[in-house]
């Protein structure tokens, strides 16, 4: 069963058309529907082989769901379906302006971090987070534009930039936790 499912695309698993736009409510409800069927708890008392397969299948469904829910992972997966490997961390964008902006954002983050735990630091961080999040959403739109137009090389370039922002948002969260304690 796991093998049967794994030969299909993640979009197929949820009966969704392959593409950038996802209706998360639909994905959510189909995800639950599938897990109701394949979760190992449905196979308690069955043979070990059945249970093992159920675990594999449920794991695959979980992975598919997590991939489609995350903008970065979804973008990478779409390119992978087209035969482009986009999850290579080693690919660095050559867009100098973008890199400069990145460095500046990181410096701003570091400054907030150095100012120590205070409510003003947290407020500054919130403002910064909003800016980063907005840019991230903008990049996602860029990706969608290039991907829909079949411009894979350009789409790949955008994914490399999205990677930066996903990491940056992780930094923001870590910092938030640090400033909050």
């Amino acid at each position: 069963m796991a093998e049967v499912i794994s030969s299909r695309s993640y979009f197929d698993i949820f009966s969704l058309p392959i593409g950038w736009s996802i209706e998360s409510a639909v994905l959510d409800s189909r995800y639950r529907q599938l897990q109701r069927q394949f979760h190992p708890d449905r196979y308690a008392g069955k043979s070990d082989v059945d249970i093992r397969l159920a675990v594999q299948t449920a794991a695959l469904i979980n992975d598919a769901y997590a991939t489609l829910m995350s903008p970065l992972k979804r973008a990478q997966y779409l390119l992978k379906l087209d035969g482009v490997k986009a999850d290579q961390e080693s690919h660095i964008t050559s867009d100098g302006e973008f890199l400069m902006a990145q460095i500046e954002l990181r410096e701003e983050l570091a400054e907030v971090g150095e100012s120590g735990a205070s409510s003003s630091a947290l407020a500054a961080l919130a403002v910064l987070e909003q800016r980063i999040a907005l840019t991230y959403v903008g990049l996602q739109d860029d990706f969608n534009g290039h991907y829909s137009a079949g411009e894979q090389t350009a789409a790949f370039e955008v994914v490399a930039k999205m990677q930066f922002f996903a990491k940056l948002l992780e930094h923001v969260e870590a910092l938030e936790e640090q400033l909050d304690s």
């Binding site: 069963m1 897990q35 109701r36 708890d41 308690a44 043979s47 059945d50 397969l53 992975d63």
Partner: protein, 621 residues
């Protein structure tokens, strides 16, 4: 490949006999067993009508053991042989016990495998064995009530338990002869009892402060699906810490230093707990301990425990962040665990979540009730179509990489079951084995995380360096337990995996314990240890000989001579030695002596690996 049988919703595959399944809440302070009768879960009491079983085991002079209130009564007169709160030690290593055990009045000792055990007059016992005693008492209670054999049980664990702690819990059940249907996270169990009761929809927080652990879980409830969004907490923070803080305060008031005997420690703890419980209803509690009279007020108690409660709220914030949920979006808060009876806890939680916490279900019973409902469904008595649990892994899993760093493979709060694969290649020509060190935790450095196991991949077909492609798959099942498998992709050979659990018991040890039913002889342990060392010696003799055959040119003639002699000596000792420690020492000595040689060979293979890498990159460009 066998296909899964999927039955129509609402239909059971075949008519079957009703089976007996229970839910067990194995707590730090108290334990409970519950079962579903006529569709309703109920807590089972003992023959005297008492439901809560104190998680205490007493090892008596006549060789008998007792569990619960009877054992608790021995705590003051016989503290060294009355074991309580051992849940804190489950799945823990010696270093953990050094910090946790310092607060416990027991004598710890390491067994031959390096696992901590407690010295009692009936010999050394592991926390797993003590827990098994408690589980067996509860199982017997259930079988008495059912007048039949138990077919299985759902046992609850703190959501924050790591793999080693979960495995230890499962091992305890195996020792007690109980088939584990599922390890269920305590907050999730509470959510089942609560959610089914209230037919809730929305996001709820389960705040679970027990005797020894704190858990926070955020769940989304929607038409019978309980989806855990995030979980967090502290596996070493609970009401026991409140007691200790109070006891410490009393001790300072009396003017005693911290070198108390076990009896005095007990006295202090007992009156600390009594005062804490009294303060649930009144503003000031009298103290009369070790000949000292005084009182503890609510305000004083608040000063002592507020920092600990603040710690729990920080964990709540982190869980909300992980779940991508704002505190304001949380519709309801459910309080679980006896320590949530402390008024300051209720007040601070209410303030933090800005809503009145639910306390309509008894916080001591709610976990066991939920576990019983889940057990009933898993055993097949109920179709279970109206209930599905989607739980998460509480702590990230990773492997050790160069320089003592960790590469995360599965991030915390990923929905389980989950499976992740990684590909490795060999490092040198003809390499047939590979070591993988799996850890659990959120920190970057290996030293800051908990070591779960070391895997040795063996039987990799010999090829030139970099040619083999080994896919290692890490799978976490619905119980939150990890398993690892590996396959060489070029030749499709299944690699053999040897697991060395860093904590807890090896499979063979469980078998051994069952066979010897707790009274395993020292000789058996020594024999097994010797066998292990012999295997280790064979491994070293083989590896070093092969290395000397191929790479002797890296050393001077006299260096080669030295190592050859060391190998020969080890081979001789391996044949005649019957004392595992002696053999272990010799193995270590040879290992040390060959270290420079190993470093040279490593250096040379890194160079060749890097050389290959550069070529590849040029090719790509």
């Amino acid at each position: 490949m066998a296909l899964l049988q999927i039955s129509e919703p609402g239909a059971t595959p075949q008519p079957h006999q009703r089976k007996h399944a229970v839910g067990i809440d194995l707590g730090t302070t108290n334990s409970l067993v519950a079962l579903v009768r006529s569709g309703t879960p109920e807590i089972l009491a003992d023959e005297t009508g008492v439901a809560l079983l104190s998680s205490v085991v007493h090892y008596a002079t006549d060789g008998s053991r007792c569990v619960g209130a009877d054992a608790q009564q021995q705590a003051l007169s016989d503290p060294l042989n009355t074991l309580s709160s051992v849940k804190r030690l489950l799945g823990r290593g010696l270093t953990d016990v050094d910090s946790l055990g310092a607060q416990m009045p027991y004598e710890f000792e390491c067994d031959d495998g390096g696992m901590p055990k407690i010295r009692t007059r009936q010999g050394m016992v592991s926390p797993i064995q003590v827990s098994a005693e408690i589980l067996r008492t509860l199982a017997e209670r259930a079988e008495h009530a059912l007048d039949g054999i138990l077919d299985g049980a759902v046992i609850t664990v703190p959501a924050y338990f790591d793999d080693a702690q979960r495995q230890a819990t499962k091992d305890a059940a195996t020792l007690a002869g109980i088939k584990v249907l599922r390890l269920l996270n305590e907050p999730t169990a509470a959510a089942i009892a609560y959610g089914l009761d209230n037919a809730k929809e929305g996001i709820i927080a389960i705040y679970d402060l027990g005797g020894g652990t704190f858990d926070i879980s955020l769940l989304r409830l929607s038409r019978g699906v309980f989806q855990v969004l995030a979980t967090g907490g502290d596996s070493a923070l609970g009401g026991d810490d409140f007691d200790r803080a109070i006891a410490d305060w009393i001790r300072r008031k009396i003017g005693l230093d911290s070198s108390l005997d076990p009896f005095q420690q007990r006295q202090l703890l007992v009156s600390a707990r009594a005062a804490k419980e009294a303060l649930t209803d009144v503003d000031s509690a009298p103290l009369d301990v070790l000949g000292w009279h005084g009182q503890l007020t609510r305000q004083q108690l608040a000063d002592l425990i507020a920092p600990m409660i603040d710690n729990t709220l920080r964990a709540c914030k982190r869980a909300a962040r992980d779940a991508g949920v704002k505190i304001a979006e949380i519709d309801d808060v459910v309080l679980v665990g006896g320590s949530t009876r402390t008024p300051l806890v209720v007040a601070k939680v209410a303030e933090f979540f800005a809503c009145t916490p639910r306390t309509n279900l008894d916080p001591d019973c709610v976990v066991a009730l939920g576990a019983a409902l889940q057990a009933e469904m898993l055993i097949g008595n109920q179709s279970g179509d109206d209930l599905l649990l989607l739980d998460v892994i509480p702590l990230s899993l990773g492997i050790e990489t160069m320089g003592g760093l960790i590469e995360k493979i599965i991030h915390r709060n990923t929905t389980i079951p989950v499976s992740k694969a990684q590909e490795f290649t060999t490092f040198k020509d003809g390499q047939t084995s590979m070591a993988i060190h799996v850890l659990q935790g959120e920190r970057e450095l290996v030293d800051d995380c908990r070591s779960l196991a070391r895997f040795d991949l063996r039987d990799i077909p010999p090829m030139v360096a970099g040619a083999a492609k080994i896919r290692v798959t890490y799978q976490v099942d619905a119980d939150g337990l990890l398993s690892v498998s590996a396959r060489e992709l070029v030749s499709a050979v299944e690699s053999r995996i040897e697991v060395k659990p860093s904590y807890g018991l090896a499979e063979t040890e469980i078998t051994q314990m069952l066979k010897d039913s707790y009274s395993y002889a020292r000789e058996d342990m020594a024999a097994r240890a010797l066998r292990e060392q012999q295997v280790e010696a064979d491994r070293m003799i083989g590896d070093l000989s092969a290395a000397l055959d191929s790479d002797a040119h890296m050393l001077t003639v006299s260096q080669v001579q030295c190592l050859r002699v060391a190998v020969a000596e080890l081979r001789d000792l391996r044949r005649i030695c019957s004392e595992h420690r002696t053999l272990a020492q010799q193995i270590e000595a040879v290992g040390k002596a060959s270290e420079p040689f190993a470093a040279l060979r490593m250096d040379s293979s890194i160079k060749s690996a890097l050389a290959g890498h550069t070529l590849d990159e040029i090719d790509q460009d």
